[in-house]
Amino acid sequence: MSEHPEELLPWYANDTLAGEERARVERHLAGCAYCRAELALLQAMRREVKALDAAAPPGELARARLLKEARRSRPPRARWMPVALAASLALVVIQAAVLVSLLPRDDRYAPLGGETAPGVIVQVRFAPEATEREMRAVLGAVNGTIVEGPGALGVYRVRLAAIPPEDGERIAAAIETLRAAAPVVTHVEREP
């Protein structure tokens, strides 16, 4: 590498260089066409990285899941906090419930009977490497139909059409069947 301050130019380009390093780069740039071109290329790279790396983050389901899990693993808290925390917890629970209820439904996966079809909904997540064939086998074992998904976390909403909501024993058995399908199935939870 030459005396050109090339290793500092990226941080001049992202505007985080300060003090003597910044002054040194600016002094050099004023008299060096080579480095001005290098800087122009770095600025073009920065613009493209910003466009290329922008990713749509997970949606509200992920947020609701996080807050739910956070409630189960709360950090130690001060003794005077319980009442205030209980109130905020209630708020978060309500928010989570509202968020879940507002989740958009995807008609592409609705069963022919429509959303009003009877049955219990469970949330199922499959392993990333699970094949469609394995997923179909698992769903077939519980007579389940995908009605939505996958969400950002890979969660599918699955309707167990043959089981009435009040039949807790059969629901538990179906959930047990799904859980036994690990590692194809990584998570099963009855939707409230």
């Binding site: 090339e6 290793e7 992202n14 071109a37 996080l66 956070a70």
Partner: protein, 192 residues
């Protein structure tokens, strides 16, 4: 994230007092950046969402241990780096030898010779995508998150000089690609 978002240090201090609302606010302000960073490493949307969830829980659980020795976001990105690496390790058994990163040809053209080619965004994007994961990761932190090099070194746990030379090498490789020389570094499969 925008300028009206509360400072991450303040939110973490509130989390340390057990305020769940602070976690929700922290998530709203920073989840997109953490997710984009995680996605850069794990390269799978579902895995990146899992990493995001794990990071946010770790921040929540560890808020009391955050000692303020580094900027809060540096601490958070450091957690994300560890979590993402763990997840990649579970998927693969190969990790790059950092020495391989130095095996970059020194005969890259000057930027002035390729800057006109870089105006073709498709070409520039194609060349960025051809870089190794380690190169793209450091470019992400430098140009997507606009972090100073000392913070990047702290996040990925390597010396300051390594961060600077890694971006320099990324630029050299990019110039070679733009010039059609295709003298890419030897297979640099993973992260560091």
């Amino acid at each position: 994230m925008n300028e009206r978002d509360p400072a991450p240090e303040q939110l973490i201090a509130r989390m340390a007092r057990g305020e769940e609302r602070a976690l929700a606010e922290f998530y709203d302000a920073y989840h997109a950046r953490v997710y984009a960073f995680a996605l850069k490493l794990v390269r799978d949307r579902a895995d990146a969402a899992e990493v995001l969830n794990e990071v946010m829980l770790e921040v929540w659980r560890g808020a009391r241990q955050y000692a303020g020795r580094s900027r809060a976001l540096t601490w958070v990105f450091g957690i994300a780096h560890h979590k993402a690496i763990d997840r990649v390790r579970r998927r693969r058994d190969r990790f790059e030898d950092d020495a391989a990163l130095a095996a970059v040809a020194d005969d890259a053209p000057a930027a002035v010779d390729v800057i006109a080619i870089a105006e073709d965004r498709d070409r520039l994007r194609d060349c960025l995508e051809r870089l190794s994961e380690a190169h793209r990761l450091v470019l992400h932190l430098a140009f997507f998150d606009d972090l100073p090099y000392p913070e990047i070194a702290e996040i990925i746990g390597c010396p300051l000089g390594t961060v600077k030379t890694r971006v320099f090498h990324a630029k050299q490789l990019l110039k070679q690609c733009l010039a059609g020389l295709e003298a890419r570094a030897p297979s640099l499969p993973s992260v560091s």
